[in-house]
């Protein structure tokens, strides 16, 4: 992040402004996505993003943190994640040390001692508490569908009140609520109670022209011809009914791989050699070799 890209730089008064600001970070949103980001910023509502893998859900959070000038705090969800890994934890060994030290020093007041035991310095902030305490941060809760559904209940309080309640300390409330971005790959249906509190947006694959723009922006060294060739080949792969249709991430990888091999346009030999960058299943690779690449050769 460059130090001068702070919130003052951008006037985010309309979806178009948000789109323009995002574009300066190298993220090119379509109308829906920029409206979603704009509303999330204005309404202080979490943004719930769903879509195929590799369409840019996670990178949107990164781009948003750049335009708001806040810190990006990421919470990767997994099965079995619980409050002590997502919200906060007490540093028990340090508490014991403190207790022992206080005893040797001859502490007499039991109340004081107990109070000092639950001091803020013994509290370990995990991502959600960090986001609450850090002003203007962007909290990315990645792949919420991987966490079990009990975990969603933890999130409800945070998302609704922007507050975390710690029994020994009290409620810690965010002065400047974080912008929350949740992503899901739909391996499991997320509970309605959580979805209701969010703005829902389905992130689709970009259209051809936008994908060319993305390739040109992210990889400024590649030729225009190569960008267009890759974008059109990838677009055809998405229509080809594959096990894993390539996302933007894959087309970026592919274009980069081709560029490193010195390609100025998409030729059949280099395309076949680098197919592993864009297709991740053997069945898909065979199918594409027989169709898209065969046409390319002819």
């Amino acid at each position: 992040m460059s130090p001068d890209s702070s919130v003052e730089e951008f006037d985010l008064a309309s979806p178009a402004d948000v789109a323009a600001a995002l574009e300066t970070t190298g993220y090119l949103p379509d109308a829906g996505l920029s409206t979603a980001a704009f509303l999330a910023l204005r309404m202080h509502r979490p943004l719930f993003l769903e879509g195929d893998a590799g369409v840019g859900k996670t990178s949107l959070a990164l781009a948003l943190s750049r335009i708001t000038g806040g810190k990006l705090i990421r919470l990767q969800c997994y099965e079995g994640i619980d409050a002590s890994q997502a919200l906060y934890d007490w540093d028990f060994p340090r508490q014991v040390l403190h207790l022992r030290a206080a005893e040797t020093a001859g502490a007499s007041n039991a109340d004081e001692l107990e109070k000092s035991l639950y001091d803020r310095r013994f509290l370990i902030s995990r991502p959600i508490l960090q986001a609450i305490e850090e002003p203007n941060s962007v909290l990315l809760i990645d792949e919420i569908d991987r966490a079990d559904d009990e975990f969603e209940a933890f999130l409800l309080e945070v998302l609704a009140d922007n507050a975390v309640t710690i029994p020994e300390v009290g409620t810690i409330r965010a002065e400047h609520p974080p912008l929350v971005v949740l992503t899901s790959n739909r391996t499991r249906e997320v509970h309605d109670a959580l979805k209701r509190r969010c703005l829902y947006h389905w992130v689709a694959h970009p259209e051809f022209e936008r994908e060319v723009q993305i390739l040109r922006t992210r990889l400024p060294d590649i030729t225009d011809k190569l960008a267009r060739d890759v974008a059109s080949a990838v677009a055809r792969m998405r229509d080809a009914d594959l096990l894993k249709p390539p996302g933007v991430a894959e087309s970026l990888d592919w274009a980069q791989a081709l560029h490193l091999l010195g390609a100025r346009e998409l030729d059949p030999e280099r395309a076949a050699a680098t197919l592993g960058a864009v297709l991740k299943y053997q069945e898909d690779a065979i199918r594409i070799k027989n169709t898209v690449l065969a046409e390319l050769a002819s």
């Binding site: 769903e50 997994y78 028990f92 014991v96 249906e189 209701r196 703005l199 096990l243 894993k244």
Partner: protein, 382 residues
């Protein structure tokens, strides 16, 4: 409910009109099956007050982001939007033709008979009743009379299919295992920092996900009711870890409908959600739809997958065997339930069955209640 909705650029009269228009839009969407609840509508109005209500695009996105919560809603939303803002207001938008569940309707007609039948039995003889139940259990459901069917329905409350456990990422207290540092230290804190007994922890086990894929094509229609009731019993046993889909000419997810507690209401709901009762089968295509949209993303990974079908597949089975191979690679156990297996002289000869055999871990009959009890055992051992 008060809406503090204030679009700045509209005069008083038009402002109220705008709210009316948007409320009407929400009503239309509810008819179309989009869950436009009151708080969501409120969110839509708040969103609109941040945007420009005179711009169709802004109205479209504001509504879509606040009222929808599922990719399947998006299509309905688009239809509703086009209908409502395209000039004429839709009174009722039929999204899917929803015929009643065929087995249900057949039964409902006989409900009077059932009631009458019960009244005739003044003093039920319990031994007779018990043995009658035994016969009922092993009878093929096709041969049941409506009365017997009604009696059988009640037995489904006894079924509780549960999958076996796998080690989870979570730890739980245990008497043996690794030392649980944080719990041990917390106990030390309680006794004023004096070392106390060491507490231990171990990984807990969680039941595997159970995925039921039920063929609802014409050739399976006599078993659809039985299998759906089984699916309901499974959903009731572990609601968060059971997924149910129907396969016909297309794929339909009915997990949500089956979560309704009352079996009859749940089945009616499922019946109206499925658009392709007793149609043809495109087993290969629908399996692929399942794997693309759900299975590969995680639903089938490490799960116990049960496919209920007679394996009737018209034409080529290459697609089917490819998809079954994919499914078998993803799933922990792949169980095939074929109602015809319970019949004498059964041989897995239908094209689909032949294609499936290399990938099937267990082949179970599913024609009677007894065979479903057997299925419960197979699922538990998987």
């Amino acid at each position: 409910m008060q809406f503090n909705y204030t679009p700045v650029n509209l005069p008083e009269g038009e402002r109220r009109d705008a709210v009316q228009v948007m409320l009407g839009f929400a009503r239309t969407l509810r008819h179309a099956g989009v869950p436009a609840s009151q708080d969501r509508v409120h969110a839509m109005l708040t969103a609109l007050s941040e945007l420009d209500i005179t711009q169709p695009d802004d109205v479209y996105w504001a509504g879509r982001m606040t009222l929808c919560s599922d990719p399947e809603d998006l299509e309905r939303y688009d239809t509703g939007f086009a209908l409502y803002f395209g000039g004429h207001q839709a009174h009722q938008v039929p999204v899917t033709q929803s015929p009643a569940l065929p087995r249900n309707s057949a039964l409902d007609r006989d409900d009077a008979d059932v009631a009458a039948g019960e009244e005739e039995e003044d003093q039920p003889d319990f031994t007779v009743q018990a043995s009658r139940h035994e016969v009922l259990r092993s009878k093929d459901v096709v041969t049941l009379t409506p009365l017997e069917r009604e009696q059988l329905r009640r037995l489904f409350a006894l079924l509780a299919p549960r999958t076996s456990g796998r080690r989870s990422r979570r730890y739980g207290p245990a008497s043996r295992g690794a030392i649980d540092r944080s719990r041990s230290v917390r106990r030390m804190l309680r006794s004023g920092g004096e070392p106390d007994t060491l507490l231990r922890r171990r990984r807990r086990t969680t039941p595997r996900r159970l995925v039921l894929l039920i063929d609802v094509s014409g050739s399976m229609s006599s078993y659809a009711d039985l299998l759906l009731r089984f699916a309901h019993a499974a959903t009731r046993a572990t609601p968060a870890r059971t997924e149910v889909f129907t396969l016909g000419t297309r794929l339909t997810r009915i997990t949500r409908e089956l979560r309704i507690r009352d079996p009859d209401r749940a089945l009616t709901a499922a019946g109206s959600a499925v658009p392709d009762w007793s149609g043809g089968t495109r087993l290969g295509d629908t399996l692929r739809a399942f794997l693309d949209r759900w299975g590969q993303r995680g639903v089938a990974r490490g799960a116990v997958v049960v496919l209920c079908s007679d394996g009737w597949e018209r034409g080529e089975t290459t697609e089917l065997s490819q998809q079954l191979a994919r499914l078998a690679r993803l799933a922990h156990k792949f169980i095939w339930v074929n109602p015809h297996k319970g019949k004498d002289g059964f041989a897995p000869l239908t094209a689909g069955m032949v294609a499936a055999l290399p990938y099937v871990d267990e082949l179970v009959a599913g024609h009677s209640f007894k065979s479903l009890e057997e299925l419960v055992r197979v699922i538990a051992d998987a």
